[in-house]
Symmetry: C2
Subunit: 330 residues, 2 copies
């Protein structure tokens, strides 16, 4: 792994320049009721309010903006359960390229519609029977297009990291530098990009991953010091963060930058969605609320009474599912 | 009316200083789907993300911060359907005063709980049989407390105006100065405070009120040039903005600062709440979405293709009602 080329803080800064005028600075929200539940002082960065409803536009802009002019006509291919899809579709439209998005047939309708609204072409596949990697590679080869990975990519990681630049600066401006930060981890593009930003701007902040029970590949891989996969077929409502295992680049960064992982159940995620509705008045999707769920179940002992940053990473959830979750539980 | 003392731009600026460290700068959000529905370029300032879930903390901080030390022990009394209640309860707690809030027995539970969570004492009355003004005056006299009106008050108007300072500056920073601004109007404290800010910072912006059908007192009063009341007993889901008629101070300002009013139906408000959920990922309460509703039904001819600012003013809505609204309609 010694010859891996990994993004650095400077790459995150360069990404920020490429996002200018497109990516929105999202607010950091607080509420005493959340602090009480967590046993810590929570600072929630609402990336669900980002353009396209998730942080994914950050990486997509950074990646697509670097495609040379001669590659623009053939455009890009991406596979994604939905948020990366929407980020790529939007970035492609803004940069004047075609985008073909390979999405599972059971992706939330709101995500499929989001891609189409930005002019993205959608190719639906069967999550249980087909390989999205193979489909994407074939379709990209047919049209000479660039495949844009959703997380294990130098520029995607650096691009997502700008959420960390903002968050570290916002915490500093509030006079509340963070002791900890919890971020959901699927493939790990966001959390490691964010960690790159904190490593420089707020080096005392320890970064933890949050992930669904049964999809605790980051937690186990970080403990083991090697990439471990999830058992196939495990289900969770957190559609946005169900990846098979940490990426090569993201795990190499994670070993240096992450302190560990926290597991959350689907019911804890639903509860976090309701708390975000009620106390922050933001719409969080299931996967987007995993980090909040990890805090609201009570933070680990070492975080008690500390300042803990939380990323709520997306808000693309179908109205029917959201209404159902609001109507049940506590 | 010539001897009325009305707040000015400088009073709004002074209010901003009193709110420092308490009031949050709320983001301005956009989405192409909203623009398409409206026929204009919309810029939505999400005051539902404000501390206490509505803009009301702005006026409350400005008013309570000016109560002299000798009045702090007896504290304040306020009457409100809920958002002003929560703003006053929070400001009182932060300033170390007791707060007694007179609320209708049918106020949303989330609002009553919000007041209590800030240590506010709640007195529930029957909206159809009792006078909240009389109850408040009696309770305030008993304890020597100050009654804090919800809109027709010099400092409340100036305090709400800081939302306008932010909005005008944000639009300017985006390079998108607003041609129009639509804001809901109940008593008119917010819209006129905001208009004071725009009068100085963005004088070309024309300000319109949005209000529920049957509670179109501002629309009719502005047309008539005199204060006209709503017919008693008219119902609407917009609980936050159901006031009997424009205030004395707010109407005097409104005659100078407002261009007119727009009426919205309950169904149009429900639709706006769903659009805010889906495209902005914010939770808006019914009254808080009246201005958005007025735009999404199609803006008036003179606003077509223009830049229109929208204030979404609150997000305190019970989960059951919200789930019900998400589950119906388009």
């Amino acid at each position: 792994m010694t010859d891996l080329r990994l993004p650095t803080f400077d790459d995150v800064l360069a990404a920020e320049a490429r996002q200018k005028g497109v990516v929105r600075e999202t607010p950091v929200l607080t509420h005493a009721a959340l602090d009480e539940a967590a046993g810590a002082e929570l600072f929630v960065k609402a990336e669900c309010l980002q353009v396209t409803g998730s942080f994914k536009i950050r990486g997509a802009m950074n990646r697509l903006a670097q495609i040379p002019p001669e590659g623009k006509k053939a455009g890009v291919v991406a596979f994604s359960s939905g948020n990366h899809a929407q980020g790529v579709a939007r970035a492609a439209r803004l940069l004047g390229m075609p985008a073909l998005i390979v999405m599972p047939a059971d992706a939330p309708a709101v995500k499929v519609e989001g891609v189409r609204a930005d002019g993205g072409e959608v190719y639906l596949y069967d999550r249980n029977a087909e390989s999205r990697e193979e489909i994407s590679a074939r379709l990209a080869a047919e049209r000479g297009a660039v495949v844009v990975p959703s997380y294990d990519d130098f520029d995607i990681i650096a691009g997502q990291g700008t959420a960390g630049l903002e968050f570290a600066r916002q915490a500093e401006a509030m006079g509340k530098p963070l002791d900890y930060l919890i971020c959901c981890a699927g493939g790990g593009g966001l959390i490691n990009g964010v960690a790159l930003a904190f490593e420089r701007l707020s080096p005392a902040t320890r970064i933890w991953a949050a992930e669904p029970e049964g999809h605790d590949d980051w937690t186990r891989s970080l403990e083991a010091g090697e990439i471990l996969a999830n058992a196939p077929g495990t289900r969770s409502i957190c559609d946005a963060i169900l990846t098979p295992e940490p990426g090569i680049l993201t795990f190499a960064l994670g070993q240096r930058l992450l302190s560990g992982g926290l597991r959350v159940s689907d019911d804890e995620v639903r509860h976090a969605m309701r708390m975000a509705f009620r106390y922050l008045r933001i719409v969080g999707e299931p996967g987007g609320c995993a980090a909040l769920a990890a805090a609201l179940k009570g933070v680990p002992a070492e975080m008690k009474g500390k300042r803990v940053g939380i990323l709520v990473t997306g808000g693309n959830v179908d109205a029917a599912q959201y209404a159902d979750i609001l109507s049940t539980g506590t």
